[in-house]
Each structure stands twice: as structure tokens, then as C-alpha cells.
């Protein structure tokens, strides 16, 4: 194995993913006809993941509240806990945590489903039947996750802020009223047309990108799976690993573009 092979493999993998995204984009016109498949995928990826997002989101909000609240209490600034939890959840924690959960659930599931289809000749069968596998298999999954990710992120943000409020109220002696006022104030921008600050719609924009990344990486890993059950396992592992790396790397650049550039 050449020393350069990891780099060439990465380049080939990214090239395949870009090509896959391109082939989905040229077929967006067929979204209305595929709505049944898209809604099935939304159900599989979002509805069946919602309880995990709620549970993890709740505890993330509680952790953020506790960690920041203890420090703020030392300098008598507990009234800022609502602001910090709300902004943290909307900007970063909500989109990131939701995307990571989707990578582990929906992304791995996509890689396993398509990988199994690949090793059992189902994808070859579609090819010999002249059936467009991008329209039938890939487009519904990618569109579904691009829709599901921001919806789940809103839920994660909301439950995280509520969890943070519970900790602030029960352990840091901050009243619900004070917490809620500071959280709502932080998430309101009267100067903006939709009365929401960049923290909220920036976070939702990130979640759409994360949804696309998770689904494209999951689908491409599945399509390239070879070699029976071992190959499917490898594709699934690769899909989760690559998606999490892609989420973190893209998160940095999006944050940089939104708040620094």
C-alpha cells in the first residue's frame, strides 16, 4: 500500500460524494413524484429518532446550565444562565448533537440498507431493469434528512432550553420567570424580519448542511459496499465515522463564515 493511498482514497471518496450530490440536484424536479418515499424516509430518520434527540437534548441543556450556572453564580450573574443556554443550544449544541445522533442512526441505517442491497445484487437488478437508482433510493433519503435535521434541531433546542431552565430553577435558585425572560430575550431580534437572531437561523442552516452531509456520506458508503456482511459492516462504520468528521470540520467553517468573516 502506497503512503499516498489514504489521500487518494479520501479524494476518490469525496469525488464520489460530490458526484452523488450533483446527480441528486439534477433530479430535484422529481421530488413531488417521490413524496411517498421521502415521507417514509422522514418517518424512519426523524420520527424513530425523536425520543433519542429529546433525551440527549434535555441532558445537554441541563449540563450547559449547570456548568455555566456554577461559574456565573460565583460572580452573581445567574440571571444570564437563560441567555447562555439558549444561545449555546441554538448556535451550536442543538445542530451538532442532532446531526451526531442522525449520523449514528439514520446515516448508519442508510449505509447498511444500501450496502445490503449492493452485496445482494439488488442494485445490479435495478441497473439491468434500467431503473434510476438515484431517483428511487438516493434522492428520497437526502431530501428527507435535509428536512428532518432542522425539525429535530428545533426540538433539541427547545428541550435543551427547558432542561437548562429546570437545572437553573432547582439547583441554582434562578426563577423560571427570570430564566425564561433571558432566554426569550436572547432568541429575539426585533431588527430582523422574522424576529429571530442569527443564532437561530444560522443554527438551522447548519443543521440542513449536516443533514445533507450525513445522508450523502451514508448513501455513498452503502453504494460502494462490497464483499458480503463484512463489507456492509465496514460501510456502516465508515459512514458514521466520516459523517461525524464532516460535521465537525464543516461546523468550524460555517461558524467562521457566520461569525468571523
Amino acid at each position: 500500500m502506497s503512503l499516498l493511498s489514504p489521500i487518494t482514497n479520501l479524494a476518490a471518496s469525496i469525488g464520489f460524494q460530490v458526484e452523488l450530490l450533483g446527480s441528486v440536484l439534477v433530479r430535484v424536479g422529481s421530488i413531488p413524484r417521490r413524496w411517498t418515499l421521502i415521507s417514509e424516509q422522514i418517518f424512519q430518520s426523524a420520527i424513530q429518532t425523536v425520543h433519542v434527540v429529546l433525551l440527549v437534548g434535555l441532558f445537554i441543556g441541563m449540563i450547559v446550565s449547570l456548568q455555566t450556572g456554577i461559574e456565573l453564580a460565583r460572580i452573581g450573574q445567574q440571571d444570564q444562565i437563560g441567555t447562555i443556554v439558549a444561545v449555546s443550544m441554538a448556535r451550536e449544541m442543538g445542530p451538532f448533537i442532532t446531526a451526531t445522533i442522525l449520523a449514528a442512526t439514520a446515516g448508519s441505517s442508510m449505509a447498511a440498507e444500501l450496502g445490503t442491497m449492493s452485496v445482494s445484487d439488488e442494485l445490479s437488478a435495478l441497473e439491468v431493469l434500467s431503473i434510476d437508482r438515484v431517483k428511487l433510493l438516493i434522492l428520497p433519503r437526502i431530501v428527507a434528512l435535509a428536512i428532518a435535521a432542522p425539525l429535530l434541531t428545533i426540538l433539541c433546542d427547545t428541550i435543551g432550553i427547558l432542561g437548562g431552565g429546570f437545572v437553573a430553577n432547582s439547583q441554582l435558585n434562578v426563577s423560571w420567570q427570570l430564566y425564561a425572560d433571558s432566554a426569550i430575550e436572547a432568541l429575539t431580534d426585533h431588527a430582523s424580519l422574522i424576529a429571530l437572531p442569527k443564532d437561530v437561523y444560522g443554527g438551522l442552516a447548519k443543521s440542513v448542511v449536516f443533514g445533507l452531509l450525513v445522508s450523502i456520506i451514508g448513501c455513498s458508503a452503502g453504494l460502494k459496499a462490497r464483499g458480503g456482511a463484512l463489507g456492509v459492516g465496514k460501510a456502516t462504520r465508515q459512514a458514521v465515522r466520516d459523517a461525524i468528521i464532516a460535521i465537525i470540520v464543516s461546523n468550524y467553517f460555517m461558524t467562521w463564515m457566520m461569525y468571523q468573516a
Binding site: D121, E122, S124, A125, L126, V128, L129, S130, I131, L136
Partner: protein, 254 residues
């Protein structure tokens, strides 16, 4: 004179250092059925995958209905494939679609046919492969033999001119195998298709084949009618088929 529908000339194919096809050449005439026999790993399924365009030859000519498969554009290949059927070894049914939806898939995806007409044609094909009333069953709920029948119904749904069968009897008991062989023969007679069957079993070849090609070392050793094939005194054929192949084949005829 019968037209040549499938033609391979000096086809070579390697997978890494494994040189599987080494100058394979043969032809199949219109309406005829060629059985391909040979030891495991000699590239029988690889031959079918070249003909349907799932694989490309390293060199040589693969021609279907006079068109070079290696030079077709994506659209031309797709158009040609719509007139071809392929039965995979395990059926290759889409596991999240029911039996009926699997068979209906090519019509739903590639045509503007009304749902009522699709249902009529799928029902007709399920009857042809002798599994009527199974529309709503899922692939995980049916036996291996039934999966092959569903795969065959799906391969035939567009009324193809050419059908390729990859080991249609693999993993089936003799009784089910007989019914699959009869089914292949019925399809030949009713739909007048040109076929290639990759198969090891003597009864299948006796039932369906007009000619038998023995693949050895990536080349065609012989391409002759089944009666000559099973009575051949070519040492390699005698060794492969066993000393009593002729008697077994004759017994089947009676």
C-alpha cells in the same frame, strides 16, 4: 437464415491478476437457448454480466442485436436493457417491496402506464410463473424457489426479446428445479425469446437448451447440441460430467 442476436468475439476480462476470460467467442441465434456449463470460477456469470452491460470487457467484442455493448452511451444501454431480462442467482428482489410491487417496478419507473394496466400485466406474469395471488407477500416471507419465480416474472414484465438466467436451479430441490426448468421452457415457447442459461444440472440443460457451451480456462471448449454434448467422448467433458452422463441424459429423455 436465423439472425445472430448475441455475439462475443475474443473477449478478455481480468480481475487483478486473475485472468478469467481468455479470448471467449460464441454466438446465439434468434429464438435459441444456449446453456453455458463449466467448472466453478471459470467466469460463467461474468459472461452474462458482460452481455447485460454490468461489466465491460478488457478487450474483444460483445455485441447484442448488432450493437457493441462497449460503445453504447448510458441512454442507449438503458434502452437496450429494457428489451432484456436477467434472472439473478438469488432473485435479487428489492427486499422492502412486496412481490407484486417488485414485478411492477420496471413499469412504474420506466413507463406512463396506468395503474390498472400495470396490475393486469403483473397479475398475468405472476400467473405465467405459477404463483398467482402472491402480490402482497414480502420477499422475506417466501421460499428460494418462489423468489426465483418472482425474479423471473420481473425479468419478463417488459416482454423482453432476450432473457439471461444465472443458475436458475442453484439451491433448489429436484422437484422445484423441474418446475423452474418447465417454466423456462414455457417462456421460450410462449414468448419466443433468445436465452442464455448458466447452469450445471443435466436435467435443466436437457429441458431448455438448444446448444451447450462448455467454458474451460476462459474459452469455449465446445458449443454443440445437448445430445452431442452428453454423448461426447472428449476426455475433459467425460471427466466433468462423469462416466454415466449419457445414461442419465437418456433416462431423462424417456
Amino acid at each position: 437464415m436465423e439472425e445472430t442476436i448475441i455475439k462475443l468475439r475474443d473477449v478478455h476480462k481480468s480481475f487483478g491478476s486473475n485472468h478469467v476470460l481468455r479470448g471467449l467467442s460464441f454466438e446465439v441465434k434468434q429464438g435459441k437457448t444456449l446453456a453455458i456449463m463449466g467448472p466453478s470460477g471459470t467466469g460463467k456469470s461474468v459472461v452474462l454480466r458482460h452481455i447485460i452491460g454490468l461489466m465491460r470487457a478488457d478487450s474483444g467484442l460483445v455485441e447484442v442485436e448488432g450493437r457493441d455493448m462497449t460503445r453504447l452511451t448510458g441512454k442507449e444501454l438503458s434502452s437496450l436493457r429494457k428489451r432484456m431480462g436477467f434472472l439473478f442467482q438469488e432473485g435479487a428482489l428489492i427486499n422492502w417491496l412486496s412481490v407484486g410491487d417488485n414485478v411492477a417496478l420496471p413499469l412504474r419507473e420506466n413507463t406512463d402506464m396506468k395503474e390498472a394496466e400495470i396490475k393486469r400485466r403483473v397479475t398475468e406474469k405472476l400467473e405465467l410463473v405459477r404463483i398467482p395471488g402472491t402480490w402482497d407477500r414480502m420477499p422475506s416471507q417466501i421460499s428460494g424457489g418462489m423468489k426465483k419465480r418472482v425474479g423471473l416474472a420481473r425479468a419478463l414484465i417488459t416482454d423482453p426479446d432476450i432473457v439471461l438466467y444465472d443458475e436458475p436451479n442453484a439451491g433448489l430441490d429436484p422437484e422445484i428445479s423441474r418446475s423452474i426448468n418447465d417454466l423456462i421452457r414455457d417462456v421460450q415457447q410462449k414468448m419466443r425469446v433468445t436465452s442464455i442459461v448458466v447452469e450445471h444440472r443435466i436435467p435443466c440443460i436437457r429441458t431448455v437448451a438448444d446448444e451447450v457451451l462448455f467454458l474451460e480456462g476462459g474459452q469455449a471448449l465446445v458449443q454443440i447440441p445437448p445430445s452431442e454434448f452428453f454423448n461426447s467422448d472428449i476426455p475433459r467433458l467425460v471427466q466433468f460430467l462423469g462416466p454415466d452422463a449419457s445414461a442419465r441424459a437418456s433416462a431423462l429423455d424417456q
